[in-house]
Amino acid sequence: MKTVIIGASEVAVILAKMLSSNMHDVTIIHNEDRDLRHLYELDLQIIEGDATHRALLKQAAVSQATLVASVSHNASYNLVSSALASELGAQISIAVVEDPGFFSTSAAVEYDVLGVEAVLNTARLAGQEIMKRIRKIDLDFVVNLVGASIQVLLVPIRRLNKVPSQAPSELSLPHGTFVPAVLRDGDLIAAQEVHSLDIDDQLMVVGTPALISSALHKLGVPSSRGRVMIVGGSSAGAQLARRLSREGRRVQLIEASERRAVELAEDLESVTILNADGSNLALLEELEVQDVEYMITATSDDELNLTTALMSKQLGTMHAFALMNRAGYGAIYERLGVNGVVSRDDTLSKNIMTIADVDRSDENETIKGSHHVLEIWRAPSNMKENFSLNALNLPPQAILLGIVRRAQALQPGQTEAIRPRDSLVFAVPQSQIKALRRVLSKFSN
């Protein structure tokens, strides 16, 4: 498989390493003043030049590329180069745009913009990742799939305020969230087959990540009202503040730059904004950080994020998370006591890999407490015609959990026809994976 990476950012290097170790034929096009010679050992092609020049793209043979990922620091450059690559025949083109103002929704990924297959926002992806980690504190099983477009989680009935009287398929949940299956005695059962719920059951809730919290609220999961402190008003910090305050929590955000603080105060109505240095010990003590449930550090300075997270943990904060730019430091700091270290570069490159369907090892998770695993199948973009879900002859015990269409989570009953580029999320017993893949391969081409 051929991959073209545009840009010489840290993410480009990570992607190049990951892909070439996956036996991809990797080409990097960049015009930045950066020495990439150390990558030659990976056996890849490096072309210096402007990726908005069609001649150059042709030279890089983008028409044969499975994936073109534009990951430079310049959003317009990324958009133009990946759109051109699409036009020249690249199968999947991906562009990274950091300005949230470009996006028409609050999703981390938007599909099919300007002829680019997927446009990604790193800050939002990292924010989704932290939200997932926070949810994971309370729930055993939480995963984000397909570029964080869909979240799958298990909610024990025991944790609800009361056992729902209706059948799981009749539960009324916000649009975009649903219960496709129930976990009972280690078996995942399709929701339609369950008529009443038991105290030991676990509900599988699936939906758009931004809507999951209101779905949980509707189901009667008691929500924590604990205080949240965010240090750093970066785009990711602001997004987390908004999401968490919407859940009804008291959120304080500390931002060092006065201008940015004023901007945030105007933007985030129900968040308390403080203009101060969040890594200041005396300040954290004054703000009674020991009573904070979640501390999230999200400044642009990695060291500061880590030390502040550790410091607040030492002072008694219940959970501390640090957002990093660089990849690879997470494990060490998690051992030191930080509950979660999320790297922007890491999250971005992993999501590019899954959206491009290059590597889904991250997503083939075993559903905790069952012998089912998650399996994702993506309808090819050159699919001849839409096919009906009824034509899908699933192996026994395999369940279609949901469909992701253009960053939206759809319930299987909501749509009959599968369109090109739809992603189907299945839960399937380990033993049946091959059978499922066989069924799906018929539609793959």
């Binding site: 603080a261 004023v262 945030l264 105060a265 308390t272 403080l274």
Partner: protein
Amino acid sequence: MYPLAVAKNLSALLLLFAALLCAPVGLSVSQNNMSALVAYATSALITTILAVVLGFISRNAKPRIHRKDALITVAMMWLMMGVLGGLPFVIEGSISDPAAALFEAVSGFTTTGATVVSDVDGLSDPTNLWRCLMHWIGGMGIVVLFVAVFPQIGVSAKQLFKNEAAGPIVDGFKPRIKETAFSLWIVYTILTVLCAVSFFAAGMNSYDAVCHAMSTLGTGGFSTRGASTGFYQSPLIDWITCFFMFVAALNFGLFYDVARGRWRSLFQDKETRFYLMINLLVVMVVMWCILPLHNDNGIESLRYALFQTLAVTTTTGFMTEDFDKYPDIARYILFMCMFMGGCAGSTAGGLKAIRILAILKLIFRELALVIQPRQVIPVRIGQSTFPPKVLHAILTFSVAFFFLWAFASAILVAMGMDFISAMSATIACLASIGPGLNKVGPTQNFMIVPAAGKVLLSFCMIAGRLEIFALFAVFHPQCWRKG
């Protein structure tokens, strides 16, 4: 400054003014009232001559004006309106003292409604029509009317408009200034017609209905009757008046939204909500205070409390009962309400509800900052955040408003008026309410104020109507200097 450009604009404004004087001229003709005809026709003639002379002098000037010229034009026009508007009173003999006539005309145009006439019923019909017409024109503003009807002024419009429209922001209206001015006048006219029809249906004669409607929508307060609205002793007329007084004190931009189908904006507007809340509170307190005066009849007390409260908070100044005879707590609250006035972008005067709301929010912000000085708290009203510059302007305006009030009151006291009469007379004029307390109370009139005091109060009325700075800037030497 370009004096010829000012003259050119003034000339056009004066022509418009002369056209307005034709209304009482027409009524005098139809009623065969010779003395009124002479008075109004002469005034119209003098105004026209003045306009023609100014027009002739400035025939070669470009109509385009800049900030300074706009300030001077608006201020000059308002001063001239006082003089020329009072002229017919002197000629007709209805108000023979020139200072009193000036006071009456300024009170008319600034929609104050404070009168020097003790026997309103004795005034001729054309004079009463003129008094109410002054309210109506002054309410929305003659310059705004000018911007709306004269097609050629173009770029100058914005400069002129800014200086006459009331309140810190005119919400709802965003596009071109000329369209804004035009739609404001359309909304205003429709509401006035609705009000007049309602009055007529409720039993007023057509002449009274039209005059009262103009006075109500302009939040003026002049009546064709000495006993004001109280003359009719009709609950229905009281309720209608209350409704339209309240409507006139709301932001007209919101009605424009309503007319375009956005009903919600009327109820979602934070200033409107705040204003409504204050009014409800005051009505309840006043109603409770005056229960004994109305033999504990709840409905009657509500009717009178609502009317008197709205007359003050909308800065209209009609009356159905002498609120100066109310218990002291009710009098005091009504007196305090005089400072607030109506909403921004309405025809009402005063500090405006949105300024009070912003100041309250500033106070709460200051409190929070004492506890946590690092906090960043924007002053947010509805969807918008007030930038520091606007907040600064709001505070400065409010302080200037209080200083002017204190200073003018002091001069009146020095002229021999008592404390309460002087203070209430000044605020009644500054906030364009009309009646004050004590010697200038609702059943009294401003004749007792010395001539110099009348001129001072006329000045206060214009200052209040033009929101102080637009008028005082003209007295700043820099306004007359070159460059």
